[in-house]
Amino acid sequence: MTRSVSFLLLGLLALSAALALPLVSDSRFLTLFLTQLAVMVTFAMSYNVLLGQTGLLSFGHAVYFGGGVFAALYLITAIGGGALALPLEFIPLGGALAGLAMAAVLGLVSVRRAGTTFAMISLGMAELITAAAMVFPSVFGGEQGVSTDRMVDVTLTGLGYGRPSEIYLLVLVWALVSVALMVFLSRSPLGRMANAVRDNPQRVEFLGYDPYWIRFLQFCIAGTFAGLAGSLFALTFEIANAEVFGLRTSANVLIATYLGGITYVLGPVVGAFVVLLLELNLARITDAWLFYYGLLFLAIILFAPRGLTGILAELPGALRRHGAAGCLRRALVWGPAVLSGLVGGVMLVELSYHLSNSFDPSDPLRLFWRDVDATNWGVWALALGACALSAALVLRARRGGRRPEVVVTPLVEEGS
């Protein structure tokens, strides 16, 4: 219970920061970042309704997001053209409805099976929708996509929504409402039974519940909020093409959610934040950012299945167990190994990227604040050296790591 309280406090803190930041600074970049964050958080939270709560691994969540995007684009145009007298603020309801409708239809087939089969079906569905959307440029706009103009006359608040900070407020409000609703739903009987289906669907059947129906309802909820997130995306960017349905969008939300930690209610929020930060900053520094991104994802799956939130949540416990000095010692042992490995690895990756992807490989490459020549073997030797150093340090740290256990064992025996 204390964990959820601290989460709540953290959430409130982040919220007040989110509200205050665009007021304090009028940086367009920051406002856009926060708007995107709100969209991504809603989307990732909706994804976790499937993965974290119900145990359904989907590779096709973008379909419902995309449904919301296009529904919103057309609705905004309809409002702008005077065909629809709906205030702009209610556009997300349309997106949510579109997501719900698609989830209700596709879900009937999708959730018959769980586990691997469900994952593959979701992938097949997504490919079907993406390929079909490409076939119909009259609806989805082909390569250049469908665009709209959100500056319409019919609004509730009287705001014009031309300025980024205005649309940010609208997106933020809807995102907050969605997150609150999803947290509420996770605590309802349906949400609890979804957890049970995730752990052991067979037993649920012997407790009076139909796992299919539970999965279906959860699938609809996830679809609804994905559609809502899609409409927030449409409000922010005012343009999209059929690629929004594709695996790249689905993979992105999957990775963000998992990085954050699927076992925590607000894990996806952390994940969305980190992923967006990486996307916006890493992509400016290096072309190989997707590689690092994939590497981070694999590392989390292998070594921290509870995600970044899990690492954060376990830090206080680790501090208590080993003491500040113990933690510092560990950091001193492992730090240099990890650091030299990172430096060597990054150098290797950047050098090969430059060599195989740049127009002229002998052009200087900006690496760690210095210009280097990727065709010169000296840099390569340096990179390999750093990697070798790291490997040696890891071996030593491992051997060193075993030693304290040998020391501890007799102590325990004496004590008892």
Binding site: M120, G124, V135, L247, F291, G294, N357
Partner: protein, 316 residues
């Protein structure tokens, strides 16, 4: 008629190529319960390795060494990756292989660049074997056919004749029996994963120059592949075979034919419909446009009619 025959033969070849991947994927799934999302990525690696080897030495060196390298890589991945996440369940394993696919695609871009590489058919086999109705049939295709058939015979012999094969067979029909047999299961897993992935690598070697060797080929092949194994029924080798051939031939046939709904309506004696409004393309789509959609459409239809797939028996 000749076009039709050619489409069927080409479709059969494509189907065989698909099955070279699907067979390994099915074996791995049946034994370990994990659907290897990165299977097509190993196919891609096979093609790139073969390209690299053939640019240093020759095609035949690639044909032998590339699958071995891919298999070795696969075994390493199983040993140090999959085995670690195994205790977190099948969803975690699937996620791991998904992350692996993502990483391999980026790795390929890293090493060989974004553009297709010039991986070519060996000159010895680059001649028309025979021609029907003015269309040449290349010797390389016949060679691919031969390799695929050889591989299946080899696989069959392996399954029927060797100890490992017998254990795999036992696991195929009774998944829980394996643990009771008391064999070295982890080593078996490593072997089968490495072996299955090596088959995908072999398919990459002979398919890479037939298709195009580029970083997107894994995604393109992968999604079709998953349709096939789900369509055939997860864990069924025969189902995977039937689905591979069916989808291979259907997709090739679709490309070979033209004609639209408008044509159909007109040929039925009605007036040509006005193509306006949203979804107006429906009147002018050709089967070739629909070829990419078809496998997924088939999958969805099948799942409505028969949720466990063509020949599937196993719950997942």
């Amino acid at each position: 008629m000749d076009t039709f025959a050619f489409a069927v033969v080409n479709g059969l070849l494509y189907g065989m190529l698909l099955f070279m991947l699907a067979s390994g994927l099915t074996l791995i799934f049946s034994l370990m319960g994990v659907l290897n999302f990165a299977h097509a990525s190993f196919f891609m690696l096979g093609a790139y390795f073969a390209y690299q080897l053939s640019s240093i030495g020759n095609f035949w060196m690639g044909l032998v060494l590339a699958p071995l390298l891919v298999g070795l890589l696969g075994a390493t991945v199983e040993r140090y990756g999959l085995r670690v996440v195994h205790r977190h369940g099948h969803v975690a394993e699937l996620l791991f292989t998904f992350g692996l696919a993502y990483l391999i695609e980026e790795l390929v871009r890293l090493v060989w660049g974004r553009q297709p590489v010039p991986y070519r058919i060996p000159e010895v086999l680059d001649f028309p074997l025979f021609s029907i109705g003015g269309i040449d049939y290349s010797a390389y295709r016949a060679f691919m056919f031969a390799i695929a058939v050889l591989m299946f015979l080899g696989l069959l012999a392996l399954l029927k004749r060797t100890r490992v094969g017998l254990m795999v067979q036992a696991a195929l029909s009774h998944p829980d029996v394996l643990w009771a047999l008391g064999h070295n299961v982890p080593r078996l897993f490593m072997l089968v994963f490495g072996g299955g992935v090596a088959l995908a690598g072999l398919a990459g070697v002979i398919g890479g120059n037939y298709l195009v060797t580029e970083p997107g080929m894994a995604h393109q092949m992968g999604t079709i592949l998953f349709v096939i194994v789900v369509f055939g029924g997860l864990g069924s080798l025969l189902g995977a075979f039937l689905a591979s051939i069916l989808i291979g031939i259907l997709q090739t046939l679709m490309v070979a034919f033209d004609g639209t709904l408008t044509d159909l309506v007109v040929s039925l004696g009605a007036a040509a419909p006005q193509a306006t409004g949203p979804f107006r393309e429906i009147w002018t789509i050709t089967p070739a446009n629909l070829a990419p959609v078809l496998p997924y459409l088939l999958l969805v239809v099948l799942l409505i009619v028969r949720p466990r797939g063509l020949l599937g028996t196993r719950e997942t």
